[in-house]
Amino acid sequence: MNGMASMYARLTKPTFALALLSLFWVLPAAAQGTAADEIEECLTCHGSDGLSVTLESGEEAPLFMNRELLEKSVHKNLRCTDCHAGLEQVPHPERHYKNLARFRASFGEACKNCHFENYTKTLDSVHYGLQARGDVFAPTCVKCHGSHDIARPAQPRSRISQTCATCHRPISEAYAKSVHGRALFMEQNKDVPICTDCHRSHDIADPKSRAWLMSTPALCGKCHSDGKLMGKYGLSTAVVSTYLSDFHGTTAAFGAKGRRTTNEPVVALCVDCHGIHDIGKVTGDSAPAFRANLVKTCRKCHPGASDNFPAAWLSHYEPSLERAPLVFMVRLFYKLIIPFIVGGLLLQILLHLWRTVVNR
């Protein structure tokens, strides 16, 4: 009932005239000519500001295409019908869309024709999960990448973080104040992680899932155990190894499988002490403040912790005579005594066997 005729009836009058015109003139050329030719054909109608159609839901679906936007797009050399498949014929074949979200989603699918790998990745993402549950606000390809103005997503890198910020405003603000965010926005630093470096771009996992939480130490470790990268900033790469060999890290490394449920704190992960998006600096001027705050951090999980307690954690340092003399000495003692005792006993065994053989 809401067929092509009624759709055209709702077009503004001047464009309606143009659309009619295209029926007779433009159509044969569209299929044959270059991409540029085709764009020109389509713009004959879709270049008029205000061209729109009213959907069943009563929403207006704009059909106007801004030529200036297209000229900035990385896709400016594609044909319109490469994405808007099935619309080669004018007048276009009749289609039904319940609402604007459905209307847009129908074109969103077009991306997979060329970007199949990234499209399949999104099927595993938390965003796709929302879409599948019918959330009309869930991000689709075009929500992050744009449509006609599609550009390279990471030029400059900070653009990605700004893209995510359109929906994730408070998190983005916390990130902008963090040691990583400040370096990104103020110094255009190329080493600090942007949103997608941790969360990935297409297969974005649910950050509240246990699997994700347990993977965070490896995530931080990817950069923080890279000697070349950390060397640039005078940061130690022992942060990961010292974490893993301590109680918390060992628990995390074993996957912390046990009695606890998903939403309970599992074991102290990097983010539990350092923060998630608001990760601060722990070296230089910020060190005393961080240290003074440490006992409060410990008390989040160990309510009875006294002021002595934070020193039970060697702050990612390998024990040395200056930093932790007691631990250093105990470790040295065993490094010497174990080979001495075990070696001595092995030697006695060999001598005993030798003498037994000699006796025979």
Binding site: K257, G258, V327, V330
Partner: protein
């Protein structure tokens, strides 16, 4: 040699039960403890997964640790009571003879001398293991409880105690494990004299011939009629005679 070769009773039920319990608990502690120390190893991950995850492994480890602590306490208290009551033979206490025995044995192994050390109820190897597990056990118990109650411990002691206790606990445990699998298992299973393994600590009985050979001084006290024969062929060595005489007097 027409001497009867009946078994001789060497260990009473208490010693046998104590050994069995320590053996089982030691195995449980090593199985649940070493994977925590060597958390990178693939075998550790397998063991932890098979036992039901790290939380479960730690629970078993602590349970076994508490049992070990109770056993150690019972052992020490009963020894103390026996010593006070004058019922202890003090046969496990090391003396100068044990150090002389080490030298004699090494000289024998190196073929400097053909004289073998003559041992009493416990030889120096057995004493070394006993005192090793006792002192090692006390270190494991103290450091283990510090790791179990870090909040309480650091209320009175500096925080560094905890990582130091962790280093000591892991290394002491590793050393105990190595000593047991290398030294103890060799001495009671693989040594040519006992291969394929001595059952004495489980049955309490030792073949008379082995007793004569391995603990001649105690044997001579048990069977005075054979004393001259057992100790006789060592009379040539004055050090041996000296060592044997006081022991016989003390217990005689």
């Amino acid at each position: 040699m027409n001497r009867s070769n009946d078994d001789v009773v060497r260990f009473g039920p208490r010693e046998r039960i104590e050994h069995l319990l320590v053996m089982l608990i030691f195995f449980a502690l090593a199985l649940t403890g070493l994977p925590q120390k060597f958390h990178d190893a693939a075998i550790s991950k397998t063991i932890v997964n098979v036992l039901g995850g790290i939380a479960q492994v730690r629970y078993f480890h602590r349970l076994a640790g508490v049992l070990f602590s109770v056993m150690t306490l019972v052992h020490l208290v009963s020894i103390l009571a026996a010593v006070i009551a004058g019922r202890s033979s003090l046969s496990m206490v090391p003396g100068a003879k044990d150090f002389r025995d080490v030298v004699t044995t090494l000289r024998y192994y190196l073929r400097i001398s053909d004289v073998r050390a003559q041992f009493d109820r416990f030889d120096y190897k057995e004493k070394f293991e006993y005192w090793g597990i006792l002192f090692g056990g006390l270190i494991m118990i103290t450091t283990g409880f510090a790791l179990l109650f870090p909040i309480e411990v650091t209320r009175f002691l500096p925080g560094q105690i905890i990582p130091a206790a962790k280093v000591a606990h892991g290394n002491e445990g590793l050393m105990a494990f190595l000593v047991v699998i290398v030294w103890h298992i060799y001495n009671v299973v693989f040594a040519p004299e006992v291969f394929p393994g001595s059952k004495t600590i489980f049955t309490g009985k030792i073949p008379r011939e082995r007793m004569r050979h391995e603990h001649p001084l105690e044997y001579a006290r048990m069977f005075p009629e054979e004393a001259d024969e057992v100790l006789g062929h060592h009379r040539a060595d004055p050090a041996r005679k000296q060592a044997a005489e006081p022991a016989r007097k003390k217990d005689g």
